[in-house]
């Protein structure tokens, strides 16, 4: 008997509907039947359980709305306070820089500027110290202010100029804008950036990350602490609400200067527990989820209503080794552990192919990736031979520190346990010490020592190799304020990295970096493990999603039209 038939019989039997629902609820069998009752008309008020069951499909049909379940809440709407991917993902839709990544690539193209500054067009000075941008005209900020050279200047002063009365002393842009000394308007629609030293990564670092342009009106009128709460960009979406820890809501910018997005409303809902995130998608409560846990990939692929998508990224996941003291001071031992780790097995069995094995510091999607480097294919016999050669053929014990979770860390505990198993097979006995993320960062920045000789980390590289300098250059060991926590110091690598950063020509720079990666792979200061493929899943009704190596999602091309 169908539930509708059951309901009809019961109702015709003269039982009061309200009474019936009450009894069914008490019996604990209410929902499907009560849903049918609710469908028979009348207000939903009398049948609490029923109305919700009936509501679920209704929420799916809401036109032009996209609900994205994310791995964490945003830190702020303000790009000057965005570190984690969960925040930048949202900021990209609200704020715009002078340049942006061409969707699907890490090439740059003009956004609020009208052309790319280059050496040829005079936009970049011969000495590499000044960059001149021509600005787009007729653009307005969400709060109505005009976009112009003065706006660009003020937007950067709030981040770098400690003398500025609206300087934000807690902003997180320092790493990206360290070499920038001033921003000066030339005329209403032309602006010049001056650097203290040449930095070939400047265009990427300044305009694509923290240095997006904020309304001068807001900077002057809104208290610094509230910049992160409002919508003061020029982007295709306007921030409309942020219920902290619950959801961040954006609506379409009806006055957008460019192509208006198809989506009317864009909601980001943090669901921290990965399994719960998948459940919300399977149950139809959200339209899209990020960071799909590997064990759920198959069930999503099996669901005819869902689409699974993954693609190349600039992320690297690696283990830094102490090259200064302890067993890993010997290059052969470092090479041995690289051979000992079964990266293919890890990517396939633990990560369900949502990552690719790494061969070098850069991910395959990066333009400086060196295709000639084959890295260290899994070869435990070779590993044992190298350990023998290094005089530690009987193996040794050491400690690896790892975070329990963290932005971009994938699933660090099972991954490191897999590696621990691989290393045990060649006689290296690794004790794992795991910490919660912030504790871990505190310990990691202090560097490795004689006891803890291995540390796990992941990095999302920028379109230009930049983080890598702080991780491989001998000038950036922990005592000098860098993240080269294993004290790797090959003077040639340090010199090449510095030279590359000061080389404006792309082809020359690429050659320098490719050479650097070759040296680094041979020295093996890290175990090169995997590169993430940014697993995503969404309903079939969602179209226009394009994977970008930078993890940026261009929401202007996405639409959501349930059948």
């Amino acid at each position: 008997m169908s539930r509708e038939a059951f309901v009809n019989i019961m109702m015709d039997g003269g039982l009061d509907r309200r009474e019936l629902v009450k009894r069914l609820v008490a019996l604990g069998v209410a929902a499907p039947v009560a849903a049918a009752l609710a469908e028979r008309g009348q207000g939903a008020g009398a049948a609490p359980v029923a109305s919700s069951a009936a509501r679920l499909p209704a929420a799916q049909e809401s036109d032009g709305t996209l609900i994205v379940a994310t791995e964490a809440d945003i830190e702020s709407f303000d790009p000057g306070h965005a570190i984690a991917l969960a925040s930048t993902r949202v900021n990209y839709a609200i704020y715009e820089g002078l340049l942006k990544y061409t969707p699907g690539t890490t090439d740059l193209e003009p956004l609020l500027a009208t052309e790319m500054p280059t050496l040829e067009n005079g936009g970049i000075s011969e000495d590499g110290l000044t960059y001149t941008f021509k600005l787009r005209e007729g653009v307005k900020f969400h709060d109505g202010a005009d976009f112009n050279a003065e706006a660009v200047r003020m937007s950067y002063r709030r981040l770098i100029d400690k003398e500025f009365e609206h300087y934000d002393d807690t902003n997180t842009a320092g790493f990206f804008l360290g070499d920038l000394t001033s921003v000066d308007p030339v005329d209403e629609h032309t602006v010049t950036f001056t650097l203290s030293k040449p930095n070939a990564a400047f265009l990427t670092l300044s305009n694509v990350y923290a240095g997006k342009i904020m309304s001068p009106k807001a900077i002057q009128e809104v208290p610094v602490a509230q910049w992160g709460e409002g919508s003061y960009g020029t982007g295709p979406f306007v921030a409309s609400a942020w219920d902290k820890g619950i959801s961040a809501t954006l609506v379409r910018n009806e006055d957008y200067w460019g192509t208006k997005p198809s989506l009317k409303t864009l909601v980001f809902q943090p669901i921290i527990e990965p399994t719960a995130r998948v459940a919300a998608l399977l149950n139809g409560e959200v339209d899209m989820i990020v960071v799909v846990p590997p064990d759920s990939i198959q069930s999503i692929k099996d669901d005819p209503n869902l689409t699974y998508e993954q693609g190349d990224s600039l992320q690297r996941w690696f283990i830094q080794l102490n090259t200064k003291e302890g067993p890993f001071a010997d290059k052969r031992v470092r090479q041995a552990v690289n051979y000992a780790v079964n990266k293919e097995g890890l990517a396939h069995d633990v990560l369900r192919d949502s990552a690719v094995p790494a061969t070098q510091p850069m991910a395959p999607a990066h333009w400086t990736y060196n295709p000639d480097i084959t890295g260290y294919p899994y070869d435990p016999e070779k590993a044992k031979a190298l350990l023998q050669e290094a005089g530690v053929g009987d193996g040794f014990s050491t400690t690896l520190m790892i975070p329990q979770s963290g932005s971009g860390m994938m699933i660090p505990v099972p991954m490191n346990e897999f590696i621990q198993g691989n290393l045990r097979e060649v006689g290296v006995d690794v004790q794992i010490q795991s910490y919660e993320w912030v504790s871990y960062l505190g310990l990691w920045t202090q560097g490795l020592n004689a006891d803890v000789t291995m540390a796990n980390m992941s990095t999302l590289e920028t379109g230009e190799p930049y983080f890598i300098h702080f991780q491989l250059s001998g000038d950036f060991t922990p005592d000098k304020g860098g993240w080269n926590v294993g004290y790797y110091d090959n003077p040639e690598v340090t010199k090449l990295l510095a030279e590359a950063l000061a080389t404006p020509d792309d082809a020359q720079r690429k050659a320098l970096y490719e050479k650097t990666w070759e040296l680094v792979v041979d020295d093996a200061p890290w175990i090169f493990v995997v590169n993430d493929l940014q697993p995503m899943a969404f309903k079939n009704s969602v179209t226009g999603y394009l994977t970008s190596p930078s993890y940026v999602i261009d929401f202007t091309t996405i639409s959501n039209t349930p059948q």
């Binding site: 790493f175 909601v267 919300a280």
Partner: protein
Amino acid sequence: MSTYIVRRIIGLIPVLLGVSIVVFLLMQLVPGDVAQALLGISARPEDVENLRRSLGLDRPIWVQYLSWLGMVLRGDLGISLQQRTEVLPFVMDRFQNTLILTVAATIVSLVIGLPAGVISATKQYSVFDRVSMLIALFSNSMPAFWLGLMAILIFSLKLHWFPTSGMWPVVGERTLPVLLSHLALPALTLGAASAAYTARITRSSMLEVIRQDYVRTARAKGLTERTVLARHTLANALLPILTVVSLQFGYLLGGAVLTETVFSWPGIGLALYNAISFRDYPLVQGAVLVVATSFVVVNLLTDLLYSFLDPRIRYS
């Protein structure tokens, strides 16, 4: 009576002071601080140092504590370092969400646990008794995390009765029925363990009373079994049950972190967990103060309820 209440409320002050000092010190012991957390992975040491200074974290611990205490005495719990919002309204909002969940879970616990315990006691060693006590043992032993995921699997993904997460749908109207549908699974998950406990304590408490002479007398007088059970047995068995239920209630008010995480319920447990992960000490301190106060208040109310249930108990 009123002097008793006033005395108990004054007794709250040293409790809160002690709790806040302990929590403050514990936060200092954990490696990593909020400056590191706020600046994240791309923080240069000089940035971390600057931020630490501008947040006043470079001052001696006791200065930091006293300046926080000074603010609290003026009724200001400060600004959350992570959320950049005022602590008090934020904490109260989350506390209210937890209160809703706790009340619902307690109702679940009483509705299931009380009758199950009473029937088990009256029919000791019967099939019902053994089965229900076995179920109680099971639901008390299963981690809330697993129970929650199973509930999602069965009631959301298979049966499509209830949503899987949140307190409200992120898009759409906020009405009571919608709230109840979101509340169902977390309340059931949280209430299950507590129901098991209630059932077991009800059973043992009833068994103790049921053997008393006055129960035999009541039966001998020819009273119906229902009256004997309700008026003479349960009423007298209620005190230990009330103690357990109210302790559980107070405990749940501190936030059921696991349940709140599985169901993304925006309660104080989840907020506190996030705040601790972030070393957001104004938020941690504020949340702990509210939780500690509520615990003490619930205990006080329980003590007052005793005298209501048992007229022999008087406070002065």
